[in-house]
């Protein structure tokens, strides 16, 4: 008994010490990273942990989509748009002591393409990488690509130290080691990761730029949103992600808590696996799009914190055009199913994950909506990694999902989603293939004339609605509850779920 109370004392003392620190930020999160390797993961939960452990050649300027110099001091783009030459900053070393130079940058792209996972898709446009001299590097493109420069500012463009090769095992490019560690030049580094508990980022004291104000960022894993909310109310955590819409509504007006709210490009869909029976018939996919009560979902599940999507490219993107929105019309849906010869009805399964609580609520609505047109839906809940593995293998009928852009170009919402080479996690999660669409999305990537390119985007948007491989549900507002003492938070819609730890500070 005495030992127990002794332990308790220590826990309290240590807890109080950790709590009192004003240069320590604790962010409560409901999902852990899948890996810390920027060349492997396309998961926002991983990006949140690693984005500020690395730097990129170019960076987003504050909350905007404008680009500013990062590890590259300056750059030149050739007239024909085919070569990008970056002049690198000098005198920077990675956290492991390796010097940063053009060779290190080249190594990154070699590693990225050798591993060939989701992040490699972002740099599909690169033909070759050439080291000009120690601090100059040249990228040659297959064809001009408008958002190329922005791609370098995404998490996929994180520059990893070539030192990771010291940890290479069986030709894995150090993946095993880098999945648990970070090796960047950024303002933080991952100091400790206790799975299922917390991931601690510590300030990189030798950072070449303006040092972070926080000495430490703790990402505390709290799987239950209700616990997360309680911790936030008690002030034990400073930022909470992610709470349910209902919980956030009740948090508004609680003294000491601020709910940051802004429009975002976080889009929620239902992926319809086009390789599966029934769903391979476009009439069935259209019927499903007609059967869903979008307004009910926006009004009651999202309680006005989302708007209905209008086609695949989100509202707010320059390339967005108002396309056809399937109305909620069960009669028409039934007629389509009858036409397809499925008037006797059939059964489909739909996946969701508790990591996004709204998915379960929408699943109940969708289940009933589809029951009304004769489709029996079995709802299945999976843990986040299982859900993602199933998406990657195409082992599902329908699934809820969301997508956030990494750069402000409609390419994010077209090439990734509809190109048939991108099946699975890289982006085409509907396992959709239409040769006309393939031509359009590849043409869009190389078109230089902005008007021509816009015409292509318009075609893609119409075709995407007509073929209906996805049910375009809602575009949600970004809501991030935090304590009022958290200052310096800057929201960037391209870096959703990734608060700017390098600029945040605490003022109690």
């Amino acid at each position: 008994m005495r030992r127990l109370s002794g332990v308790l004392c220590w826990v309290l003392v240590l807890g109080a010490m950790a709590w009192a620190g004003e240069d320590v930020l604790v962010m409560g999160v409901t999902a852990e990273p899948e890996t810390l390797d920027p060349h492997v993961t396309v998961d926002n939960n991983s990006w949140r942990a690693i984005y500020y452990c690395y730097d990129r050649l170019v960076e987003y300027e504050g909350g905007t989509t404008k680009l500013r110099p990062g590890l590259a001091q300056s750059w030149e783009i050739s007239e024909d748009g085919l070569t990008y030459t970056f002049h690198l900053r000098q005198g920077i070393t990675f956290i492991d002591g390796t010097p940063f130079n053009a060779e290190a940058v080249r190594f990154n792209f070699e590693r990225l393409f050798a591993i060939g996972k989701g992040p490699a898709g972002t740099f599909e446009f690169i033909k070759s990488v050439e080291v000009i001299d120690e601090y100059t590097i040249k990228f040659v493109l297959d064809a001009p690509f408008a958002p190329a420069l922005s791609a370098f500012a995404t998490d996929q463009g994180c520059i990893v130290s070539p030192g990771v090769m010291e940890h290479e095992v069986d030709g894995d490019w150090g993946q095993d080691w880098l999945s648990e560690h970070t090796a960047g030049t950024g303002p933080f580094y991952a100091a400790e990761w206790i799975h299922g508990m917390r991931l601690v980022l510590k300030r990189n004291e030798g950072y070449w730029g303006e040092p972070a104000k926080l000495a430490q960022v703790e990402l505390r894993y709290v799987p239950e949103p209700e616990d997360l909310r309680m911790l936030l109310e008690k002030g034990e955590i400073d930022i909470a992600e992610k709470l349910t819409v209902d919980q956030i509504q009740s948090l508004k007006g609680v003294p000491g808590i601020r709910v940051f709210e802004a429009p975002s490009f976080q889009c929620h869909y239902i992926y319809l696996n086009c390789q599966r029976p029934y769903l391979n018939d476009v009439r069935v996919r259209r019927a499903i799009s007609y059967a869903i009560d979008y307004q009910g979902i926006v009004d009651y599940i999202w309680q006005g914190t989302a708007v209905r999507m209008e086609g695949p490219v989100p509202i707010g993107f320059a390339e967005h055009i108002p396309v056809y929105q399937y109305p909620y019309d069960p009669e028409r849906a039934k007629a389509l199913l009858e036409e397809a010869g499925y008037d006797k009805g059939f059964t489909l399964r739909i996946m969701h994950s508790p990591v996004v609580p709204e998915w379960r609520q929408m699943a109940i609505v969708v289940q009933q909506n589809l029951a009304e047109i004769g489709i029996d839906v079995e709802v299945e809940s999976y843990a986040w990694p299982t859900l993602r593995a199933k998406l990657d293998q195409g082992d599902f009928d329908m699934s809820f999902g969301y997508w956030t852009p990494d750069y402000a170009d409609a390419d994010m919402f077209t090439w990734f989603w509809f190109y048939s080479e991108n099946w699975g996690l890289p982006g085409n999660r509907a396992w959709y293939k239409n040769e006309v669409m393939d031509d359009l999305v590849t043409a869009e990537r190389v078109e230089i004339n902005p008007e021509e390119r816009q015409r292509l985007f318009e075609g893609i948007q119409w075709l995407a609605v007509s073929d209906a491989p996805y049910v375009y549900l809602v575009q949600a507002k970004y809501q991030l509850p935090m304590r009022e003492w958290v200052k310096g938070y800057v929201y960037n819609p391209m870096l959703l779920n990734m608060p700017n730890f390098s600029g945040i500070y605490i003022e109690k």
Partner: protein, 292 residues
Amino acid sequence: MHWWIRGYATRGSEWRRALGRLWRSRLALVGLAIVVALVVVAVFAPWIAPYSPTKINLRERLKPPSVAHPFGTDDAGRDILSRVIYGSRVTLRICVLVVGLTLGIGTLLGLISGYFGGWVDEVLMRVSDVFLAFPALILAMAIAAALGPSLENAIVAMVAIWWPRYARVTRGQVLSIREIDFVAAARAAGASSTRIMLRHILPNCISPVVVQATLDLGEVVLTAATLSFIGFGAQPPTPEWGAMVSVGRNFLRDYWWYTTFPGLAILITVMGFNLLGDAVRDILDPRLRRGP
């Protein structure tokens, strides 16, 4: 002498006496009343429930208890009272299936194991050892996860973890009964093994198994609710109590009724089964019988 060996002639009066004892125990009566009520509610659910348990009505979401919705509504606007009422059907179905199947499988295997002995016994008992060696809930979770989340698979998982208990109890009984004279007499008279097992041994070893089964009912309800709570059991929109509690926990602070009523339903049902189970044990097991 073994207490469970009774003549066929006296069985009727034994049962009458047993019912008399049940009647005199107040707690047992409470248990019985709860179980009877559960069965009645489950059978007549469509007539008792004021609304459909699955029909959503988003306009009415998360409404507190009122005259229209005595238990309030959930986050899809479904009436919680109706869902709790229909949930009794799910619970009862799980109970009957799990206890019925485990009782059948366990008793049969126990009977074979105890009667034949030798390598049959060795094999069956070592297999049951394997199942008993795992923590029951962990094993059930593993099986349910491997088979995929659904109510049927949860039932399969529960049967898989439960049968060894019955096999063990039955085998123990058979081992002692098969040495008794009347079994030897039956064998001498030329009765087949099947006939001896089913007609002579089984009736004489069934009461401890029945006691075990009644005691287990409450645990079955709880395990089923637990599996559903962690997502391995009933899937939406099945109105299963454990699943309702699970979903409702994220609403607990602002919408207390969501979790509270299905939680109470589990509490009361498990209590009912346990009280009844205790009483049945007291009655059928004379070693625990109290004075008149």
